[in-house]
């Protein structure tokens, strides 16, 4: 067991597909939480999200979706999940397309016509210790993240929560590099604004 915990994804995948049940335990443990988080970006219902994650593992185990090593296993797995979650959300008639939400640029009115700050950012009443340790701030950022439009939330989550790079995110979500950057920028800008609203006073 201990040895298998540090094995690469690809090694575990090969063992699992060869019928090794024990190898599936660390593989699933490694990604279960991330998959659930990603699924929740598409389907809000927790039980439905768990179904989607379970179907994703089943699809992998049954070879319905085949991992062929063209990307990392993680990227491949996230993409399969995203596609399944998306079709599930479409069925539930609550899917919002990634590209366009008619969302105006955030901080649009923060600048004067010359491009200078109309409302300069004010200092946050927060110590470095609080930023590192406060659970109240985590609640605040969690709430702000949940309030983002789903496409922005998904991109911010994959980049900043799951620590994936831009190429991986484009690959998983099937969006362009430009689109990825815009969604990330808008999402982060809104998160900063949400924190500012609470920390400036």
């Amino acid at each position: 067991m201990t040895a298998s915990l540090i094995e690469s994804d690809e090694a575990l995948v090969a063992q699992v597909l060869a019928g090794d049940e024990d190898a599936f335990i660390p593989l699933m443990a490694r990604y279960q939480r991330s998959l659930l988080r990603l699924a929740r970006n598409y389907v809000r219902d927790a039980a439905l999200a768990e179904d989607v994650v379970q179907d994703t593992w089943m699809g992998f185990l049954r070879g319905i979706e085949k991992f062929e090593g063209r990307s990392t296993f993680k990227t491949w797995l996230f993409r399969v999940l995203a596609n399944r979650a998306k079709s599930r959300a479409v069925k539930e008639a609550r899917y919002v397309p990634m590209a366009d939400e008619g969302d105006p640029a955030p901080d649009g009115d923060a600048f004067d016509p010359a491009g200078g700050w109309r409302v300069p950012p004010r200092e946050w009443k927060v110590t470095p210790e609080r930023l590192l340790l406060s659970t109240e701030l985590l609640d605040l950022v969690h709430e702000a993240l949940s309030g983002l439009p789903s496409s922005q939330r998904t991109v911010v989550s994959l980049r900043d929560l799951e620590d994936l790079d831009a190429d991986e995110v484009c690959n998983i979500l099937g969006i362009s590099e430009t689109n990825q950057r815009v969604l990330l920028h808008r999402g982060r800008t809104k998160l900063r604004a949400a924190l500012a609203a609470r920390l400036e006073s």
């Binding site: 699992v16 597909l17 060869a18 019928g19 049940e21 599936f24 335990i25 699933m28 443990a29 279960q32 939480r33 659930l36 988080r37 929740r40 379970q54 593992w57 089943m58 185990l61 049954r62 901080d107 923060a110 600048f111 010359a114 491009g115 200078g116 700050w117 300069p120 950012p121 200092e123 946050w124 927060v126 930023l131 590192l132 701030l137 985590l138 950022v141 969690h142 993240l145 911010v156 989550s157 900043d160 929560l161 799951e162 620590d163 831009a166 950057r181 990330l184 920028h185 982060r188 800008t189 998160l191 900063r192 924190l195 500012a196």
Partner: protein, 90 residues
Amino acid sequence: MLRCRDVARLASDYINGDLSWRQRLAIRAHLLMCRHCSRYLLQMRQAVALVRRLGRSGRTSRRPADAEEDARSIFRAARTAPDGSRRQDR
């Protein structure tokens, strides 16, 4: 010369290190003279740092009570065909 609005628009890419060295240089020159933008960028970094902390905190999703048992059930279910017969190993 970059204006504050331009700096704000490039902030996310700047944090990621996704800009050309020329753009980075322009931003750094602007930041030397503009405390508003310096503060803005600091706050943007702090927001990103908090999201990263959130990811490590475990509060965005709970760990299942019995992960091993879950894994074994899924594995076994996957290897059983819908008619109940065992799948053959490849």
